[in-house]
Amino acid sequence: MRAKIISIPVQDQEKALKFYSDKLGFVKKVDVPLGEGNRWLTVVSKEEQDGPELLLEPSPNHFEPAKIYQKALFDAGIPYTQFNVDSVQQEYERLINLGVEFSIKPTEMGTVKIAVFNDSCGNNIQLVEMK
């Protein structure tokens, strides 16, 4: 068994693809039409294209509990998932310049530094740097 997919619920797949590509720098890997405008849509990290794929799935639009769960996490400020970066501070500054909103600015937390931003698709995402 292998873990290859990290699923992220998004409210608008096209908008999510733009955000994850243009702002975060991920690269589209798989895009399969599934009818009625839905897609099996994955992106990968540019530096690690054989790494895990992020599945941008439109679950909040089709399954009410998914929508409620996503909103509850978002309102509580809880990240849906997290990405590793070499420097949280540099990535924070780069993303702020691109208009990305942060709910938690770069914060030292013991052996890691974290920051949390809004992915504009209904999720908080945490950036992590190991110290």
Binding site: D50, D75, A76, G77, I104, M109, G110, T111, N124, K131
Partner: protein, 137 residues
């Protein structure tokens, strides 16, 4: 009063972060010791690294440091070092280094033990991994 209002304005997650920080990360001396140890491994993974050396870097006795490292990183220094070496060896194999060159470049001494370890961690031998990486280009 101001503190109370500030606390109320925080999200649930911000309050959780502060709570966990207080519980887990309040001992700065311990954190300094493990961060220094980890940085040392990151910068010296290609050389011989052992617990005696690390205990000098971390200013702590061998077994105390071992416990602290495990407590803060969830892995022993040895496990962390091995993962680091395997990660670097993947980069070097992708660049086209031979298996023996790769093995020595990341601090392992014996190519056959390296190949066995690599296969157990990655699921492919270094040569198979290299072939796939070259093919994917």
């Amino acid at each position: 009063m101001i503190m109370l209002i500030q606390n109320m304005m925080m999200t649930f997650y911000q309050r959780e972060i502060n709570r966990i920080k207080d519980i887990c990360y309040s001992n700065e001396r311990q954190i300094d010791a493990v961060v220094r140890t980890r940085n040392f491994i990151d910068n010296n993974f290609d050389k011989e690294v052992n617990l005696i050396l690390l205990s000098n870097v971390g200013f702590a006795s061998k077994f105390h440091l071992l416990r602290l490292f495990k407590k803060y990183y969830g892995q022993t220094p040895k496990q962390y070092l091995t993962d680091k070496r395997i990660e670097k060896s993947k980069e070097n194999l992708k660049k086209g280094m031979t298996v023996t060159e790769t093995c020595l470049s990341v601090g392992f001494e014996c190519p056959s033990s390296f190949s066995t370890l690599f296969k157990s961690k990655i699921g492919l031998t270094p040569i198979e991994f290299q072939k796939r990486a070259t093919f994917a280009k």
